[in-house]
């Protein structure tokens, strides 16, 4: 994921932020867990709702599953 960050709109970067934290949970479940995201624009400050966070978590899980599927030792 070194190359995944690019300047982009918030909407496109949210999955990257969520995935990074959730990967932290995957590697260190006793020390890192849960997800909280706050977004800041010139117009508004808001925290993502539980539904939005659940959607991001689901996206991460799908991505994780897809990566596992293409790994050569899983076929």
């Amino acid at each position: 994921m070194e190359n995944y960050y690019r300047p982009a709109p918030l909407k496109k970067l949210l999955p990257l932020a969520a995935s990074t934290i959730l990967l932290g949970e995957h590697f260190n479940p006793t020390g890192v867990g849960g997800l909280e995201i706050a977004v800041y624009t010139m117009d508004k400050i808001y925290k993502l709702s539980p539904e939005e966070l659940a959607e991001l978590r689901q996206g991460y899980e799908i991505l994780d599953e897809n990566i596992r599927k293409v790994l050569p030792w899983t076929s």
Partner: protein, 177 residues
């Protein structure tokens, strides 16, 4: 605010084991954090908490890892910049002053005194999203025995030193800021 008599709070085992990222987008800033709180006072317990604090005046938000010192410094910055919108140079100065003031409250005039005489301060960092006059800015305040404030132009992460999550960021997203 912390003072010397309260330094027993700064015990590494009692602070959140935290992993947080700040990302600069073209139209704003993202702060993301885990929500786990590890407490080993008495029985080791895990609980869930909000680690990102949003404020209306000044319009900013912050989160931190490490012990309470970083959070206190961010809070002090918020108090000192109330009712005003700071320029970037002022943000740097005020963050530095807030961090330095908190360090001074812990160490006094001798931050480099021998470790055995030092109160235990684990070090850490705070991420601050600040809504300025022109754009939203992401700042990072690192506090060890001194304070360093710098603006972040792309992405950064903070985490407790013993947290493998911080190493994860290195191998996935990129270099630490």
């Amino acid at each position: 605010m912390l003072n010397k008599s309260q330094c027993q709070w700064l015990i590494a085992e009692e602070v959140p084991v935290t992993f947080q990222v700040g990302i600069v987008a073209t139209d704003g800033v993202i702060l993301a954090s885990d929500t786990r709180l590890t407490n080993t006072t008495g029985i080791r317990t895990l609980s869930t908490t909000d680690k990102i604090i949003c404020l209306d005046n000044p319009r900013m938000a912050y989160c931190w890892c490490g012990d309470l010192l970083q959070g206190n410094a961010a809070e002090l910055f918020a108090v000192s910049s109330k009712d005003t919108i700071l320029e970037s140079t002022e943000i740097r100065t005020q963050l530095y002053q807030a961090g330095s003031r908190c360090i001074h409250q812990i160490y006094g005039d001798g931050p480099m005194q021998p470790a055995s005489q030092r109160p235990l301060h684990t070090g850490g960092a705070a991420l601050i999203a600040y809504i300025g006059k022109i754009s939203v800015e992401l700042w990072r305040l690192d506090i060890t025995h001194f304070a360093v404030a710098c603006p972040v132009r792309d992405k950064t992460s903070v985490g407790d030193a013993l947290n493998p999550g911080i190493f994860l960021w290195k191998i996935t997203i990129g270099q630490l800021h």
